[in-house]
């Protein structure tokens, strides 16, 4: 395997007295889709917050493309090539679709041809191009999520963190969104995904990471995790066998 584009090592952190991440360690190879799965409270979203500098870590190290980016500012991370698409709806409903995409470039430097990049982003999402002049609140839930992904692409990121893209979407929309992620991967973008919809996410993923109680339980090829009988058990609420005290 080639050198990882992202590696997190022994992350420890949480909210207040609560420790959510307890030695989380994994790495992500470039140009892959990697999905983090795990039960509620395993620390999936918290890992993303830690990577994107939104959570002060008590311990651990995050490196991206060979550079230490632990506790960097959001702007520095965006400039380094990491984008973050948070859970839920994060569009500007009162602005047009095009303006929403344009906002992905607020932290871009002067030398960037924004109109060209907006066009490139719209090329990837035909549904958004058709509606680019409409107010973003008129889009369907799935289109709104696509809009967020399109916006995150404006800085031409090397790594996109996407938290629960399929939440609240129809099965068809989930499939469409996942297809877009696959085409991004094929263009060399690395995607790190969190999904409740674990089965369909793993089906499009190269690597799967199982997180439990803030610790990495398993990192393996996605298909191996899909076929692992212990995973079903984990998602039924039980702990993994070897964790039973």
């Amino acid at each position: 395997m080639s050198d990882p584009i992202l590696s997190v090592h022994h992350l420890v952190g949480g909210y207040g007295k609560m420790t959510i991440l307890n030695g989380t360690t994994f790495s992500v190879p470039p140009a892959t889709i990697t999905t983090i799965i795990g039960p509620n409270g395993a620390g999936k979203s918290t890992v993303f917050k830690a990577i994107f500098g939104l959570l002060k870590l008590r311990d651990g190290k995050i490196s991206f493309a060979g550079r230490d980016v632990t506790n960097s500012s959001q702007r520095a991370l965006l400039n380094a090539g990491i984008c973050y698409v948070p859970q839920g709806r994060n569009i500007f409903p009162e602005l047009s679709v095009r303006s929403n995409i344009e906002l992905g470039g607020v932290s871009a430097g002067k030398g960037i041809d924004l109109p060209k990049r907006i066009e490139a982003a719209l090329d990837l999402f035909p549904a958004l191009r058709r509606k680019s002049a409409q107010q973003a609140s008129t889009l369907s839930g799935g289109e709104q999520k696509q809009l967020e992904i399109a916006r995150s692409l404006l800085l031409e990121p090397k790594l996109v963190l996407i938290d629960e893209p399929s939440i609240g979407l129809s099965p068809l929309m989930v499939q469409q969104t996942f297809d877009i992620l696959k085409s991004l991967r094929d263009r060399g973008v690395t995607i790190l995904l969190i999904e409740q919809n674990a089965r369909s996410a793993l089906e499009i993923s190269d690597i799967g990471i199982v997180l439990e109680l803030g610790q990495t339980r398993m990192v393996d090829k996605a298909e191996r995790i899909l076929n692992d009988p212990r995973i079903g058990q984990l998602f039924l609420g039980g702990a993994m066998e070897d964790n039973a005290a």
């Binding site: 994060n90 569009i91 906002l103």
Partner: protein, 332 residues
């Protein structure tokens, strides 16, 4: 498309502005004082509206910033400096103090920030009262001169009212520009969804701090005008109750609405005066009126207007749909 046609809006605005200039010419001394107070308090409330309505942070220190501005204005003008210079110093001072206070205070948000600013408010009051070498202590500062503007003395109530009104106009334009600038839009983006703003690489803390400091600076402007208006200041008007009054003005008028502070300050300054004929009951009636309003419309007076407009737009849209439908049916 906001219910009124644009020319109608402009005409309405011009009528209000003309009214504010012409009508008070017949007012007595007391009426002019109240109206000047309205203009000054509107400036302070606009500052708080930036912090609360646009950046979404509850501050209980706006009265203290009015106090800082008032003392800066009073001390400088009694020492012979012209008022415009004193206003500039008040702006710089309250912006600076706001920044220094906000830097540690904005580590906490919302109601926690309210407590931190509450403590600052008390602290500022103690400084005004106890540092008598600077502030005159409980005796305050008297004989605060009113300025000469372009060679015209503004000692009389009417000219000074125009100074207050003119200042309000300048501040209004500045705030209008600010909330339409990328800065203002960033403030709203932070209030609505901080995570969304952060994911785009906006430094939320810096913008919140800026909103807080600019809001504080407007408190300072109001204070620097308040001092020559009353011509005598002591610490009492700048205690916590002023901060609470200003907070009420913003909320009653409609937090986050541009014209909210104008209306809120009008109610807070004028309503008690109108209710004076009820003698001992006027504060009670005033309190009941405010409570009733906020139960009826938690988003303030402009919130009522907003709902009314939304209802009208819905009706208009359904009428359009009905027309379109009947046309489709006849076409078939």
């Amino acid at each position: 498309m906001n219910g009124f046609a644009r020319p109608l809006k402009i005409a309405l605005g011009l009528i209000v502005v003309a009214g504010l200039i012409i009508v008070p010419m017949n007012f007595n001394r007391y009426g002019l004082f109240i109206l000047s107070q309205w203009a000054v308090m509107t400036i302070a409330a606009m500052g708080l509206n930036l912090t609360l309505g646009y950046a979404g942070q509850v501050s209980l220190a706006q009265g203290a910033f009015v106090g800082i501005g008032a003392y800066a204005g009073a001390i400088m003008t009694t020492h012979g400096w012209p008022l415009p210079v004193a206003v500039l110093v008040a702006i710089v001072l309250s912006f600076g103090v706001g920044w220094v206070l906000g830097y540690p205070a904005l580590r906490v948000q919302h109601h926690y920030l309210a407590f931190v600013t509450l403590a600052f408010s008390t602290l500022a009051f103690l400084v005004f009262r106890n540092e008598s070498w600077l502030t005159g202590g409980i005796y305050g500062i008297s004989n605060i001169p009113r300025p000469h503007i372009f060679g015209i003395a503004t000692n009389k109530p009417l000219p000074f009212y125009y100074v207050c009104l003119g200042s309000l106009a300048i501040v209004s334009l500045a705030v209008w520009w600010l909330i339409r600038s990328p800065w203002g839009r960033a403030f709203v983006a932070l209030r609505e969804n901080p995570l969304r703003a952060q994911s785009l690489g906006i430094d939320t803390r810096r913008y919140t701090l800026m909103a807080f400091a600019i809001g504080s600076a407007l408190g300072g402007v109001a204070g620097a005008l308040y001092a020559p208006l009353t011509q005598y200041i002591d610490p009492v008007p700048f205690n916590l109750s002023l901060s609470l009054d200003l907070l009420m003005m913003v909320i009653v008028g409609g937090a986050g609405f541009y014209f909210g502070p104008f209306l809120g300050a009008m109610i807070a300054v004028l309503l008690p005066e109108w209710l004076r004929f009820t003698e001992g009951y006027y504060l009670m009636l005033y309190a009941i009126a405010v409570m009733g309003l906020l139960i009826w419309s938690p988003t303030g007076i402009l919130g009522i207007l907003d709902r009314h407009m939304a209802a009208r737009r819905t009706k208009a849209a359904s009428a359009l749909r009905a027309v379109a439908k009947s046309r489709l049916e006849t076409a078939q």
